[in-house]
Amino acid sequence: MMGLLLGGLYAVIGLGLSLVFGVMKLVNLAHGDLAVFSSYFAYVAMSSLGIDPVASLVLGIPILFAIGFAIQGLLMNRVFRLGMEPPLLIAFGISIILQNIYLALWTPLSRGLTTGYALESYRIGEFYIPLVYLLDFVAALLVMLFLREFLRKTYLGRAIRAASQDWRAAQLMGINTNRIYALTFGISMMFAAIAGVFVGLTFPFTPSSGSAYLIIAFGVVIIGGLGSILGTFIGGVVLGVAQILSGAYFGAGWQLFLGYVIILAILTARPQGIFGRR
């Protein structure tokens, strides 16, 4: 049950990555670290200004959107037609920069967004469900719904889908594909921002948490397949459940291990994921 709720959160983490990967075929290795940016941002807002983390998203989302827009617009757009490696390595570089900035500013000590409600739990039948997990899940559903409607009903959303299917044809429609890509990255970062805050509410985080969340995000995308929001959700749930199960059976240290094994297995056998189309 907890795995299900956790899965929602993981799905949000994966959503941003999936968007960028699906549209631009670009793996943003810094995705996790950018989400953690939002965690630290909320942390600062909370510890210095007493602002609730979710409220800090009001600023956090636009800031991260701008960062994402800049990354794609200034850096990635230059190189991503050169092949898959350059963007990968740029993202890697950004990841390094971010992780070490966090290290320098906030030390390896783990931080958490501990608000009052973060510690509450509800009792449902036999289970104790932490309130945060419920919040995570609700947030996840809202985010996924928003994305679905956006992609289906708006011109921009359609333009993004068109650009991901055939960028040349998209240009013939009058779509400025470079700008659309930058926008997509920005939107992806908006999801990362949301993920970062909710992750920070649920778990403690350190400068290197980004890596773990990246792998989770990647796992979500791989398991669920590209281009499918539902698939991403399922992927999140699978990983969430795997984590809870391995934590229960093998001990706390092994939590992510089973998840990693599952991801590797799927990568080997069916790289396009369960629901993938590509």
Partner: protein, 239 residues
Amino acid sequence: MSEEWTLNVDHIDVYYGAFHALWDLSLEVRKGEIVSLIGANGSGKTTALNTIMGLVHPTKGSIEFSGKRIDGLATYDIVTLGISQVPEGRRIFPDLTVLENLIIGSYTGRARVSKDQMLKRVYSLFPVLEERENQLGGTLSGGEQQMLAIGRALMSNPELILFDEISLGLAPIIVDRLYRTVEQINSEGVTVLFVEQNVRRSLKQAKRAYILKAGRVVLGGNAEDLREEEEVKKAYFGV
């Protein structure tokens, strides 16, 4: 725009990397005309269209549309100015529905306002598209995809449409219908520049034509005059 305009391609050179694709090429299209580019495979017809659309840029010469230079512009800006292309291979969006494909055609500002109007027009030209409105583009037959591609190009409410080899891979009966529609589109006020493998059809549909060979214009003039020319007779027999 209802005033007269011309598309002026003026002595352009185009390279694909090191390959010299177009040599000192000039052509002209006036508002309301149907003009065609004729030539064997590799003669540069598609390259010419792509250059006009800004997918490739000329290294020399200029392209002007209604007095405005467009040869350095990005494709999406050129579309905004009123030129649309039905690309070779159709290139419809496979994972968008027919309706979505058409709607995305009216992405540009100038087209969005008249979206519903244009949609009605497209549906009246191609009723089958309305039937298949909610089907994914990738599931359509070749002929239907071609219609979708043409409809999509119309959705941007263009002054000029470039048609690139719309007959490829289609049965003659379907091609006939397509070209009748092209005529109708032209009669409704849209200027047409098209590239067509089939020389006979080319000269039948067009009012004026240019003959390309190895990236150069070797002949240009009225379609009926051209039919008599040696070069064209050679082209008929696929030399």
